[in-house]
Symmetry: C2
Subunit: 337 residues, 2 copies
């Protein structure tokens, strides 16, 4: 497998990107192409030991920032690390693509340059989030803030294929975010999509209220991108608030600091359970080849896990299986006409 990495995207680029890539070629059966400013990349590579036949550098001169209009940037910055990397994926020079750069620009590059799988109406952004019982997949986390029922149906199918093929979950439980458990509850969108989800080739377990989301009751949780963005960011914000308060409580006096020592292991384990950098990045589901959006604040470890995930994403042939499923459902719809 060959993974192309946008070396210039993210808060800690290119250092974190280069270090993550080096660890990837050391530990995983992958080759990595780093795309970005060659002198900066070479400088970061200095002194590092790795198999040079497995790591390549492609020089680019431009960078897309978080602050520019994403689609305009994609169109105009032809020699940016993101555009060049996306085109390499499209042109079969790599099997998967990882970037910690602008989410909007990556969505644009995924849709416009890499292209959609035939039949997929809207690619979705799908991060894995922590629960009491392990990670689950949120689809969509913000790529599509206004959704039609058919979009949500496709999110459910794509998420289910990923969780089964990559995570090895038999019959992933797919749930729909709603304001109540009863089938009749919901807004226009959830009411319209419910019968479609019931008829889809997935294990649909019905509605899930947001209160139940952290309990690990579903493997794939489906909602429109506005709601998904709220779920993603509120989880981050509340976790940060809790951890911050806990820290203050423990750092108050020498005695509390001593108390903290007794539970240190437990807290570290819990923090690790909540830390989703090890899950990799967010998937772009529905593009023709695998694209991974690493968190903007990714460190070297997070980049390594994102590359590892990209490798699994490509190895499990998820995009091919989504394409197969879409073809099937397009055929069924045509027959039904």
């Amino acid at each position: 497998m060959r993974i192309v990495v946008d070396a210039m995207g993210g808060d800690h680029a290119p250092a974190a990107q280069v270090e993550g890539a080096v660890r990837a070629v050391q530990e995983l059966p992958v080759e990595v192409i780093l795309v970005g400013d060659e002198p900066s990349i070479i400088k970061q590579l200095e002194g590092k030991e790795f198999d040079r036949s497995k790591l390549f550098v492609i020089h680019t001169t431009e960078v897309i920032s978080n602050n520019e209009p994403p689609l305009k940037a994609i169109r105009e910055k032809k020699n940016s690390s993101m555009v060049v990397a996306a085109n390499m994926l499209k042109n079969d020079q790599a099997d998967a693509f990882v970037s910690a750069g602008s989410t909007g620009a990556l969505l644009g590059a995924g849709t416009l340059l890499v292209g959609r799988i035939k039949g997929v109406e809207r690619p979705a952004l799908a991060p894995a989030l922590p629960s009491d019982k392990g990670p689950w997949l949120l689809v969509d986390a913000g790529a599509n803030v206004d959704c039609k029922p058919s979009h949500l149906l496709q999110f459910a199918i794509m998420g289910s294929i990923y969780m089964s093929e990559v995570m090895g979950i038999m019959e992933p439980r797919v749930a729909l975010v709603n304001v109540g458990e009863e089938e009749k509850k919901g807004n226009e969108l959830t009411k319209a999509v419910t019968p479609m989800l019931k008829a889809a080739p997935i294990h649909f377990t019905g509605n899930i209220e947001a209160r139940e989301i952290p309990m690990g009751k579903a493997d794939v949780i489906v909602c429109d991108g506005f709601v998904g963005n709220v779920i993603l960011k509120l989880t981050e914000g509340l976790a940060q608030m809790f951890m911050g308060n806990l820290k203050n409580i423990f750092y108050r006096t020498p005695v509390t600091k001593l108390g903290a020592l007794t539970v240190k292991k437990g807290l570290v384990d819990f923090k690790k359970k909540m830390d989703y950098t090890e899950y990799g990045g967010a998937l772009l589901l529905g593009t023709r080849y695998p694209v991974i959006k690493a968190h903007g604040s990714s460190n070297a470890k997070a980049m390594f896990y994102a590359i590892k995930q990209a490798n699994k994403f490509a190895e499990a042939k998820v995009t091919e299986k989504i394409a197969e499923e879409m073809k099937q459902s397009l055929k069924e719809n045509t027959n039904a006409d």
Copy 2:
């Protein structure tokens, strides 16, 4: 002030309702009317000391449960505690109404029996939620899962009036839940309402991302009821998950239990900050007279605080001030035509 309380609604009815009401007449300048099954209420009152001239019981024979279709129940169960209490409010026999019963039925009773303030398109459900810097008001938390821009505008105005009149906040900061801070971000609804919020007689501070919600950056946070319901319930679910994990960490061994003792005070204070039973219940904003929805799981303490809040809600003449503001904006709209 006279507060009418649905004695039969809620998981711990009528015991919690009666005990909360007794405490209210002991500690607050209020009279309370308990509406429900008289023998059960009388039994709960036995042995309690309070001024009998301040507490009344109205006997009813029916109860509306959480499991029946709310509007049908409101129409058919004329002698239910909720319907009788709502009608007493409407007929000026009380100044405010508190129920811990079915949310759907209470919304129905509020809209159909108590009635909307002239000009208010949709009453909203508005609970106070905890943040690092004290409570803030969420409007709407689930009464209206499909919203028009004009609904959100009214939520913002009503929430702002409540926070200024009842909570004494000068120029409450009103923010709109969105997927990014930039004004151009959002779905069709948020894009349409943004210019309306900027022109409204409120202190609109712009978009708020869900990550920032727990940081206490706004006093009133506005969104459609589907999104609001997700915010409310995810906050509950994550708080529960964190506290549960923390408990497990501390109860692991005798040594960790000793460690827990050192931070007990800090944890109790933090839990108290997060515990919103002391904020009272959720407001119904937009009904002609004050209605409070207490949490279904309310204990006596929560019922007491809900009655206290109902008293402040009525005393501050919030409904009158909302009516005045609506009249003003109706007039402006007519002049503009």
